[in-house]
């Protein structure tokens, strides 16, 4: 009896201790100085440390590699500032924990660079009104004083890449491997198709989903199926691109890149692609915050840079060996139109089911494009 009671007592004590420890760990980190002095200094002003979190590894030949290259460019541009960067940070609460620890180390500007980091970023921004938290790719409505989102019009260089794809294909079938049918991805696939259709109106774009941003096994399977269907130009919207590009190159098909320049993986089949050049934009945002001008600036909202603004961080990649001069000229002409204020989605744009989504002569706003939920005619695939 005595042994049982002692054991029970010990168990209860252990549970109580664990509960107290858990509560202590989960309570919001005591932010330096609370809120009362925040109005005196603008968030992020005079920052000496900047923090970056990224969802994947820094050498994935894709999205996160581009972030890393941007961070390196920022380090060069602002030598007096220490930049702390953390990779492989998942899109859940651990993102908030990582950001909090960066703030504890003295960071007063935080960049959360993955789409799924938005919720964690909002939480951290609320807890630290003296820290500027900017998010890559999300939408805030409204944006708190110390928060902002930023992105480029990714679909514009993808439209140009589509022209190269349409010109290069012999079978008339293009493959697009994507993750999840979010508006950004749908806009990309649609722009790619519209671009290809300008040189080859009967082109078919087969869009297949892997339901994840990087699973090499699934990617390999999707590519094999697309190649079996006769696809001879492959592109993707994935975080990691190595598996897809290598498989495409091994099959002798063409590759259009995305996120980063991966031409070394496809020395013969590389056509072109689109890649991030985050350095200038990261530097602009950081400098604005350091100067104390963040609140009320263009970055204190949903900042989208397109080609017409001259500051699109998403740029076209170098051409590969097989792209003809005529195609390059066509692409240059299309790029000039976009820089003059044109849009890949200038009407008429028809969805798969025949409804006219953009009327003739109209151009949809960036907000409309970032809520796209359909595929255009010419795309084989389903959004749901």
């Amino acid at each position: 009896m005595r042994i049982i009671r002692r054991t029970r007592l010990a168990l209860a004590a252990a549970l109580a201790a664990a509960a107290v420890a858990a509560l202590a760990a989960c309570s919001p980190a005591a932010s330096s100085g609370g809120g009362s002095d925040a109005s005196a200094e603008a968030p992020g002003a005079g920052a000496t440390k900047i923090g970056f979190i990224a969802v994947g590894p820094k050498d994935d030949f894709g999205y996160n590699q581009a972030v890393y290259q941007g961070v390196e460019a920022l380090r060069e541009a602002l030598p007096g500032v220490e930049v702390i960067d953390a990779y492989n940070i998942p899109e859940d609460d651990s993102a908030a924990t990582t950001m909090e620890s960066m703030i504890a180390q003295g960071a007063t500007i935080i960049f959360a660079t993955s789409y799924g980091h938005l919720d964690a970023a909002k939480k951290v921004a609320e807890a630290h009104p003296d820290v500027v938290v900017v998010h890559q790719g999300g939408l805030l409505d409204p944006a708190p004083a110390n928060m902002g989102t930023y992105f480029g019009s990714v679909f514009e260089p993808v439209y140009l890449a589509g022209i190269a794809a349409g010109a290069a294909t012999e079978t008339g079938k293009l493959g697009y491997v994507y993750a999840i049918p979010i508006p950004q991805t749908l806009a990309n696939i649609n722009a790619y198709t519209l671009g290809a259709q300008t040189v080859r109106p009967d082109v078919e774009v087969i869009a297949v989903s892997t339901t994840s941003w990087c699973t090499p096994g699934t990617q390999a399977d999707r590519v094999a199926s697309l190649l079996a269907k006769g696809v001879d130009v492959m592109t993707q919207h994935q975080d990691c691109t190595k598996t897809i590009i290598e498989a495409t190159e091994a099959a002798g098909a063409y590759t259009v890149g995305y996120h980063a320049d991966a031409s070394e993986l496809a020395p013969e089949g590389w056509l072109t692609g689109s890649e991030w050049n985050w350095g200038p934009l990261y530097t602009q945002i950081a400098q604005t915050a350091i100067d104390g001008d963040f609140v009320g600036s263009e970055f204190n909202g949903n900042y989208r840079a397109d080609m017409a603004s001259g500051a699109n961080p998403f740029v076209a990649s170098e051409f590969g060996p097989s792209v003809s001069e005529e195609t390059k000229a066509l692409i240059a002409a299309a790029a000039a139109e976009l820089e003059a204020g044109g849009s890949p989605f200038e009407g008429p744009v028809t969805a798969q089911d025949g409804t006219v989504k953009v009327a003739e002569g109209e151009t949809p706003s960036i907000e409309t494009i970032e809520q796209m939920d359909y595929f255009v005619k010419g795309v084989t695939g389903t959004t749901s």
Binding site: G217, S225, K229, T380
Partner: protein
Amino acid sequence: MIVEILSGAVRGGTSILYAGLGESVSERSGVINLGTEGAMLVGALGGYAVTAQTGNPWIGVLGGAAAGALLSLVHAVLVVSRGANQFASGLTLFFLALGLTSLFGTGYVSRQINAFTPVKVPVLGDLPVVGPVLFQHDPLVYVAFVAAPLVWWVLFRTRAGLLLRTAGERSDALVVHGYSVTRVRYVATVVGGALAGVGGAHLSIAYANSWFEGMVAGRGFIAVALVIFGMWNPITIAGGAYLFGAALSLASVLQAGGVAVNQFALDVVPFVLTLVVLAVLGKRTLLAAPDELLKVLDNSTSR
């Protein structure tokens, strides 16, 4: 389309097949290893790393096998020598493997390797239907064709296999004849882990030719379920593995073919398939279990 699905089934089911064979060997001796997924993960990274360093994918396969064997050795020490809870040990080792491979694998994410390439079997590979389905794959797939009957033969036609099965059915009988149950179970668990490691290596150096954290994506757990509803028979396990391969590749073929099915629904298919088969087979699966394994299912340990 059928040919594509079947071809994808063989290609995708091979890694699950190796892991299933390994787990059947281990379970036949009375040890359940829920860490099979972990063994596949270390096998995938080990295989990829060794191939990257040596430039030879066959040595990479050995590296993957060794990695899987090593992880399972830890499992053997915990559950055979120390009598620990088999389920807890297996799962813990899985989580350990997940963390370790994610950490040590970061340097290999962008590394290119000299991977296995598909090799068409002369004559047989040119046959209609059968050719693309069975004879136009990488070498490890062909080895798997031989591995399943080989494991069956060792288990049911050799003395070593008899000892192993006795350890799983009536361990006292082994003791009476002067054999060490511990030693038999150690060997079985380590061999099981080695096979699972080869399965993982197939994923990284033949199937996807890349390494990424968590890339095994549940195949190890499918293998464990497979052993149960394959009723611990290597031949039915092989069939089940290819069935799962078909479920996995169904998503690719349907999407590429323009069939409008929700992609998340397709992801669920392999797991729903497992539940359906288990429901249909029902009590039969439990009755086919090695007796010592039933003890484990009752107590979570082999004691």
